[in-house]
Every structure is written in C-alpha cells, then in structure tokens.
Symmetry: C2
Subunit: 361 residues, 2 copies
C-alpha cells in the first residue's frame, strides 16, 4: 500500500489516550438479519457510549493533546455527532468548546451539545456554511479549529475501530500471545511488543467491510488499518445518492463538489470533499457506492426489527448497500459499522413505521 | 458476608470459558436519562451480542462443561432468553439442545430458538409448567436438565457481570496494575495474581445497583460479587407487581408461591421460587421492590427516547424502580443492567407508542 497520511503505530498510540468507554465496542454476528440479506453480517456497534456515536474516539485524541499542550479553547463545525463528542471530551478536560452547526441539524444532537456545556452557534445554511463559520471563528479568536477528517487525530481515533476489528488490541494480543506462546516462539525469539505491527498479515473472519462515507475520517481511518494489516478485506465506502460528492470524487480521482444535498443521512451530508482526505481514500478504498434513501430507511427498519438496534440513517448505509447489490455479497461475511444512533424520535418513528421490512429471501 | 452457594474464584474462572462476544459489555453513564430520573444513571448493556440477552454468559459455562465431560444432550425450560442462549452455546459445541417453553412465550424468542437449531417443545401453560415438563424429559431421556438459577453455572455466568462492574477483569486489572505498580508494591511484595480476590474492597463510582429479579441467577450472581468485593453498594432487586413471588419470599424470608402471573415482563414471570436461590438472595440483596406495569412501559419508552435502546420489559425494571421512588435515588449514582432486548415488534410498538414520556422534572 502507498503511504496515506496515517501511521499504524500512531493509531495504536491513540488507543492509550482514548477513554476506555469508547473502546473495545461490541462486534458480533447478527444472524437474524442474514435471511433478509443473503450473507453473513457482523455488526461493530459504536452507539453504546455516552455520545452514541464513534466520534468520541477522535475527540478524545484531539482533547487529550490540547489539554496537554495546546490552547484551552477549540471550535468545530459539526452535523451534530462530532460536536457532541468534542463537547464531552472537552468538558472532562476543562476545555472551552464551541460548536457551529446548521440550524437544520437534528434537534436532539443540538440539545445534547448544549447539555454537555458547549457553546453552540447555529448558521442559516448547511454543513458547509458551518465549516466556513467555524474556520472564521478560529481565525478571529485565535483558537484551535478541529476539522473533521482533515485533522489526523479524528482519523486516528476512528482508525482504532480497525485495530479492534482485527483483534489487534493490547487485550486481545495478550490473550492470543499467551495461547500461542509456543507457536510465536518458533517465529521469533521474543513475542512482538504490543505497540508494533505483527510480523504477518491478519486473516479476519470477514471478507468485506461497509463503511459510511461522509468527510472520510471513518473510511480512511479504518480503511488504512485494514489495508495495512489485512489487505484481503474489501473496503467499501457507502454514501447516499443525495450526498454523493466524495463518492464521485473517488471515482473521478479528483475533488468533485455538489451544489446541494438531499438525504436524511445528516451525518454524511457534505458537499466539498477535502483533497488530502480524498488522496487517502483513493489509497485505502476498494470501492465507493451510492444508495437510495428508500434503502437507508429499509436498513434502519431491518436493524430495529431484527437486531433491536435504533440507528441514525448514516449507520444504516452498510445494510442499504447490501440490499441494493445482493449478488455482490451473496454468501460472503460482511462487517458493517453501526456508527451512530442520535435520531429525533418523531423523524425516526416516521422512517421506521412505514411499509413492512422484507423477511427471508 | 455469610456464604452463598457461589464462590468468587469460580466466577473468575467462569470468565475464561465464556465466548468473549458475551464479555466486557458496555458500561456507561447515560446523562440524557438523568433529568427525567433525578439521579446519575449508568447502563450495563447486555443486549449487543448474538442472543440479545445476558443469558449467554451462563449457557457458555454450562455448555463448555458439558462439551468437556458431560452428556451431549441437554434440556431446559425457558421463557425464551435462556433457551436461545443455550441453543447458541450448544450449537457451537455440538450439543443436542431441547428447549421447553410456554406456547404463550414471546414469538420472536421462540423463532430464534428454532433458527439456532434447537428442538422446541411448547406446553399449554405457563413457565412453571414448562419447568415441570423439562424435568420430566430429562428424567425420561436421561439427559442433562439445566435449571436456571438453581444450576450454579447459570449464576456464575451472570456473576461475571459483577466483576466487570467493579473493573475486576484480567484486562482491567492488568492496566490498573501497570499504572499502580508502585502503589501495589508497597502493599505487597508481589502484585496479586489475576485469579484471586484483591486484598482490599473495591470502591466503585456507583452506590446502588438495580437488578431484574426473576428466578434469581442474575441477582444472586451479581449480588454475590458486589457484596463480597464492594459491600458498600446497595443491591436492589426489582420485580413486577404482577409476578411478585420471589420478592414476597425475600421479604418473608421463606418461599412464597403465587397462583398466576400478570405482567408484560415475560423474562421474570415465575411463580415458584427455588429455596436454595432464595437463601442466597437473602444474603446478597439489600432490598427487593415491586413495580407497576405502567412504570415498566415508561421505563422502556425512556430508554428508547433518551438512550436509543430497544429493551424488553424485564430490562426496564430498574428504570421503573427509580420512577416509583425518586426520593430514594435522588442525587445518587445508580447502575441498571439492561439484561435483554428480545421483543415482538408489534407488542413493542404498542408499548412505546403510548402517552408521552416525561422530560425533565
């Protein structure tokens, strides 16, 4: 693999500054989903934590570095999940957090940002306007701007999910090392220390991973780890047809912007991909696909009905991708990252109380 | 503490035979619930695994012992969760599993038991009749009967939750030990090995735990660990008013049976407490309380609305107990074990789509 901006040793180091409440999240087969999808499906669940999304991993890295040696004030633009996570991570470290969001953002996400004590500024436009405003605040006030997906810490935090998917955490490695002490002794004089890459590639039990694609932190982070350590796993990014900028950019190998977005998947609704992130994505993604809104909604309903999981639209993108291309995944073992569960109750009920979800095949 | 049937060293050993997919489950503060409850609330989430309940912990212990040296066939009575878990644990070890359940049991639980390849026999009566029938099958066919809560393995499996609540797992202890090496060195010449109790009591960040009470495996298992290692934590068992047999037995200090049950909390709807389990419960529980059906439903709705968690009625008993006695918990930090999420979709929607859930206070 050509070099991305990420580094596996730094990602391993990131684990050590992230509050354990965000780490070692559940990873399990969900057989009840499988008759409806035609493939084996494992879920990596990133919603059972204080901010109900994976974003805490990255904001923990950001905030711990700032608390150590950076400015005490920080601003970010957010569709809601990054802001909530930064508010949580900053509160615990005495940072002064400001979040800029669209006034059309999911109301419960904004409520939680306020409840966590962050300053919240709403802009009368979409997420791209919020990004501009956050950058302006950072310049004007001389405080740190956290740019999701551009700032390496946000990618490194997300990338720790990749280590867990491959069982390459200190905990797992210690257990494994004990059990395989004899085998490893034959390969090397000493077992590898925890913070270095294993001397061989990993063969995980799954052969494809479906990753929600927005700004790209999750996809480039997890994709980097998989391509570096388990290159046989197909890394497939999934974006809504209504917010296709990064996916189009990936296919054309250059940044493509769009004038608007039209999707319920608020967490991934960007219009202006970041060039450096696209460069990384070109190195780690095997494919990027677009899915329809109807498939996202069916995915949310299937996760509720068959897995008992409330998820936000972005977290159903992986299931949507399977639904739209069953032949591609038939008989394979696919992991999907359930990346967030912050939904407005009323909207969620409208989405899931629609037509019946398909059972069986 | 007087001796229960349980032993902390055996509980630690149980962790080593349980598939890791059931261990080290999420434990996190859920602040969004707190304005409505008036106390700090942490959730121990036992639903993000292949059987969507905590029962896999116990059936893993049962099945691993059987696979090692016991009979290859096993039967249990179940309201659905134990049966599903035993089917899962037995399938992986080539055991022949039969589950006896009431024909009135939750349909999705029965569907999952069948899907996991277990034999399913339905009785035309309640859970107590299923217990009788399972015992008869075991006698007649000479196969192993697994009796939930009576069989120590089921309690020991559940008790591993207690170790995790106190941070007393190999993983946590190793990290802790590294960090506190110097401190520990002053207390003893060598750090304690992982499989022995620490030389001092633990002071966890919570001061009360609310545990769903049915047959008693969860309450006596977790209660044993807490009373042995963190006796300052108040252990409160919660049962529906419509299925009060064990709670009444605890208060009268002798087995009290009831003629019928009337509750939506199918997982805890027993009528005939087991004397040996009651004896243990008398040693480890500080209190046992009854809650109304309306509180259980409100608890389910609050967990959905504010925590994004789909839970079965038994898993909302803890929240129900806080709702019915806010003064008791005001300002305290309470842990509640979300013990299962196996619900029928239609019934669940009926329960949660009722009147509004209280916000704030």
């Amino acid at each position: 693999m050509q070099q991305t901006r990420l580094d596996t040793a730094r990602i391993r180091a990131a684990r050590r500054v992230i509050d354990p409440v965000f780490l070692d999240t559940p990873l399990y087969r969900c057989e009840a989903l499988e008759p409806g999808l035609g493939c084996a499906v494992s879920i990596k669940l990133e919603t059972a934590n204080p901010v109900r999304s994976f974003k805490g991993r990255g904001t923990e890295v950001v905030a711990s570095l700032l608390a150590e040696r950076g400015p005490r004030a920080v601003v970010c633009a957010s569709a809601g999940n990054l802001g909530q996570a930064l508010a949580w991570s900053g509160r615990g470290r005495g940072l002064d957090v400001t979040v800029v969001a669209s006034r059309f953002a999911t109301a419960t996400k904004l409520d939680r940002i306020r409840a966590l004590g962050a300053g919240l500024e709403l802009v009368d436009g979409d997420h791209e306007l919020a990004r501009e405003r956050a950058a302006a605040i950072a310049r004007y006030e001389g405080i740190r701007l956290v740019e999701d997906s551009l700032d390496l810490e946000t990618c490194e935090g997300a990338a720790t999910i990749g280590l867990e998917l491959l069982g390459l955490t200190e905990h797992a490695e210690r257990t494994e090392r004990t059990e395989r002490q004899a085998e490893l002794a034959e390969l090397a004089d000493t077992a590898p220390p925890f913070n270095t890459a294993p001397p061989f590639n990993v063969t995980p039990p799954f052969d494809a991973i479906l990753i929600a694609l927005g700004g790209g932190a999750l996809a480039t982070g997890v994709g980097h780890v998989l391509k570096a350590l388990a290159p046989g796993v197909e890394v497939i990014c999934v974006q809504p047809s209504g917010a296709p900028a990064m996916t189009r950019s990936w296919h054309r190998r250059r940044v493509v912007t769009t004038d608007s977005t039209d999707t319920i998947a608020d967490g991934v609704a960007g219009r202006r991909p970041i060039p450096a992130v696209l460069d990384d994505l070109l190195l780690v993604a095997d494919d990027a696909v677009l899915v329809q809104e109807a498939s996202i909604i069916t995915g949310m309903r299937m996760l509720l009905e068959h897995a008992g999981l409330v998820v936000e639209p972005s977290a159903a993108l992986g299931i949507a991708a399977i639904l739209e291309d069953r032949d591609r995944f038939a008989g394979r073992h696919v992991v999907t990252i359930v990346c967030g569960s912050n939904v407005d109750g009323d909207a969620y009920r409208r989405w899931v109380d629609g037509a019946p979800v398909p059972h069986g095949t």
